[in-house]
Amino acid sequence: MRIEKVTEEAPGVKTFRLDFTDDSDRERFAFGAGQFGEYSVFGEGESTFCIASSPTRKDYIECTFREAGRVTSALARMEAGEVIGFRGPYGNIFPLEEWKGKNLLFIAGGIALPPMRCVIWNALDMRDWFKDITILYGARTVDDLVYKHELDEWGKRTDMKLVTTVDPGGETADWKGKIGFVPTVLEQMSPTSSNTVAIVCGPPVMIKFTFPVLEKFGFDSEMIYTTLENRMKCGVGKCGRCNVGSVYVCKDGPVFTYRQLQSLPPEY
Amino acid sequence: MRALQEKAKELLESGKVGVIIGYGNGSGERVRPVFVRNSADVAKLVSDNRCRLNLSTYLFKPELKKIGRPAIVAAPATVKSIIQLISENQLKSSDVVTLVVEDDAVVELGDNASLEAYSASHPVVFPPFARKEIETIAGMSLQERFKYWQDELSRCFKCYACRAACPLCYCERCITDNNRPQWVCVPSHAQGNFEWHMNRAMHLAGRCIECGSCTIACPVGIPIGLLTIEASRIVEQEFGFRPGLRCDAPSALSSFKVDDKESFIV
């Protein structure tokens, strides 16, 4: 796929907009919110990211990554017009159909907004399917917040509510959002659990402390969704490293309900 | 054997150590590492000529470090590796109780001096196969050696048992596990294997105490110990340096002499 546009989201975090080099691939390609792909730089290897754009926006896909390892560093050096490899889409999807008529509460931390952005835009593009849409997004510092332009846009919209927060010490002088860890801010928001689906994504430690808060407010574990990211190589359930118990994150996930996670060993 | 078990019991009961790293009976005729934490279990400890795997590699295992101060049942090579580890600042002689068994008496080597004295009086003897192989390889031409090693290394599937068994491979992240840059190709094709074994030898040059653990550990029977033994032989011949003898010895490849021989440099 060809890189159409590169957006610098935060220090070390970039978003690529990718277009197919082959027209027939573009025609054929379809995916659902929550799925991921294997992006590759020839000579460096493959890396796994969620597709960060909404399936309702055709003709391109977007992915957001943090420069961390060998492949992501190589990707970060690339510019618009260059070509990268892509396999996918793999994995399961968020069941938006099932959520019709419900409130949606998105809770994301740091670099985990991209996998959720896909489903957020998907929901916003089908706004009439859902009732209230709330997003709680936190990062370590103001700098680390990704999609700043979209956060502004979401903040201005009247048909949804956006709460942003940064960890204590990560604020700047003109920061207008909240200060505090995501689970703490969530508790202050005292979310209603009635007719509400919570979608949680973030670093393992955030997830660990967020689930109990949601349970405290009466969320049923069936109504809490998350997307897991384990190390993967093949994406098709063969290479053997992403499994959590007998479940493969790459083909049975990455989307799981908290209920499902409770029945799995804590190896994620 | 009795003496060892009694000593182990005494050490555990006095609270001097938390775990005895020793040998016990294993599958069939084999011995295996055992970790005795309770004085009731000292009967598990055995000591005989099957006890060859150098147990000092376990001194760095996090799960064992948690249990408490270890005592280790040591063969001559084990003592040498402990000295080498001390010289590389990875260990202090007080961190571990080193037990050597001689004529069914157990001696505790508690300080640098006693470790060094023991090491000096107990040279490591290569098993016969190694001596034979060393001679064979020495008699080969360059092409024959190339073929020999390509052939031997072709069996390598990079399980890294050699690295795991080596007491001196203690890096938290091995060069082969780094991919920026990828110095060592990951796959176990000829090129990747050559790179891995060359790096292993170079990293152990002047450090290998010739315990043979890597060769014993190798599941496919590659005499990989010969590579590190050769590297150490070169270091000894060129720089007069033998590892595993002195606790305050400098590291051969991070020191130098102004008059090191350089006949090959124009």
Binding site: - | F146, E238, V266
Partner: protein, 145 residues
């Protein structure tokens, strides 16, 4: 056919002496073989032996490693450390059956432009006599069975 073989030679050199020396060769308009590709390092102490392996694996027929003369190192002792490693590395390579005539180690100072040209010419000639590097080419060291 022998005449058509143009060996690829990679030179790993230190910034302070040999690179400056090679520069001098150029500025003094000395002609020498064009088979060499120079890679500049801060010091010979930085020239990892793995770089030599990689050079051969990527198709080099010969390698030159060169830096400041003993006692002239910009960082006092980088070349002494490098020398110890080379001593071991050379013999290990030979132990594993690699012909070390393909690797030339030298000390070339910033003033020795002529020596640099001489070393390059000499190396090219010697490598030509050895034929293309076989040990590391894909036929001998197969990548995939």
């Amino acid at each position: 056919m022998e005449n058509s073989f143009e060996p690829k030679i990679v030179a790993f050199v230190c910034n302070w002496c040999t690179y400056a020396g090679a520069d001098l060769t150029g500025t003094s308009r000395t002609k020498y073989a064009t088979n060499v590709r120079i890679v500049r390092f801060p010091c010979t102490g930085r020239i990892d032996y793995n770089l030599l392996l990689k050079a051969f694996e990527q198709g080099a027929d010969g390698v030159i490693v060169s830096g400041c003369h003993p006692n002239d190192c910009h960082y006092t002792s980088g070349n002494f450390h490098a020398r110890r490693r080379w001593i071991v590395f050379r013999q290990m390579m030979e132990y594993m059956g690699i012909d070390m005539r393909r690797v030339k180690f030298s000390w070339v100072s910033a003033a020795e432009g002529a020596k640099w040209a001489e070393i390059v010419n000499e190396t090219v000639q010697e490598i030509c006599d050895l034929d293309p590097s076989k040990e590391f080419s894909e036929t001998a060291i197969q990548k995939v069975a």
